[in-house]
Assembly symmetry: C2
Homo-oligomer: 124 residues x 2
DNA sequence: GCACATAGTGTCGAAAAGGATACTGTCCGC
DNA sequence: GCGGACAGTATCCTTTTCGACACTATGTGC
């Protein structure tokens, strides 16, 4: 997901769709982004919010999003380390995407019977 | 991606975002969905549209989306097989998502310097 | 009889993503 | 001096994803 997964920007129309997805895809990114919409958060605050995400994964996702310019990492040279994560302008520009996604999810998942989640192959 | 990857619907707010992403995530799904927005397509038509997607992968993605209720598969009992894929109502309801995603992608990727694609770790 | 088209399936293997667990260093409170 | 909080790292391992390639069956055209 990190690297070349969605890096075919030369593909058929729809590639920008893919490219956009590529940036928010990754098990925790959307949640992280979602929380950051409400404001700046520190590493361990995020950890608590995301709960079952290991620190390794959290760092990982955060770093990728930083590289992609979605978030900003601000380190305070303090004795007990302090690092703040916030959305960059680009990250904030994704708000409509996140919202559209959430609206659709709220409207269609559960109401519809959880498109994912149920998976016939498990029941059968 | 297929199964339990994004199946934490009980998580913190933002889970519906994740759930929605889970349905369009998967290397080819967004492209397929995108093409189907313009109308019904047959298997090999899709193949030609998506180009570098192996038939195995195509079947795979198509099946997952069918299970998720996003697309409809219509088989014609003909001698040279004929199978048509089209968006279901649920699938069509994703149009705003796809469009938002595409708009964002068009506006921010390339213009911004291809957030993915460049990856400092490769150059460094 | 051979190739082509249709719509796939099956097997194999590599790579990536993700998870578990333990560890770093520094300061504070006790 | 012990343990906690801070912000991560390092290492190992499993699962998932994806791609290559060959292969199925049936009918048509040559």
């Amino acid at each position: 997901m990190a690297k070349a997964r969605h890096s075919r920007f030369d593909c058929t129309p729809g590639c920008s769709v893919e490219a956009a997805i590529g940036l928010i895809d990754g098990k925790w990114k959307s949640i992280i982004l979602w929380h950051l919409l409400s404001g700046t958060l520190r590493f361990n605050e995020l950890r608590r919010h995301v709960q079952n995400c290991t620190p390794r994964m959290l760092t990982n996702q955060l770093r990728e999003m930083e590289e992609n310019g979605l978030i900003t990492r601000k380190v305070y040279a303090q004795v007990p380390p302090k690092v703040e994560y916030s959305l960059s302008e680009l990250g904030r520009s994704m708000e409509p995407i996140l919202r559209t996604l959430k609206e659709w999810g709220d409207a269609n998942i559960g109401l519809y019977g959880k498109p994912t989640g149920h998976d016939p192959r498990e029941a059968a």
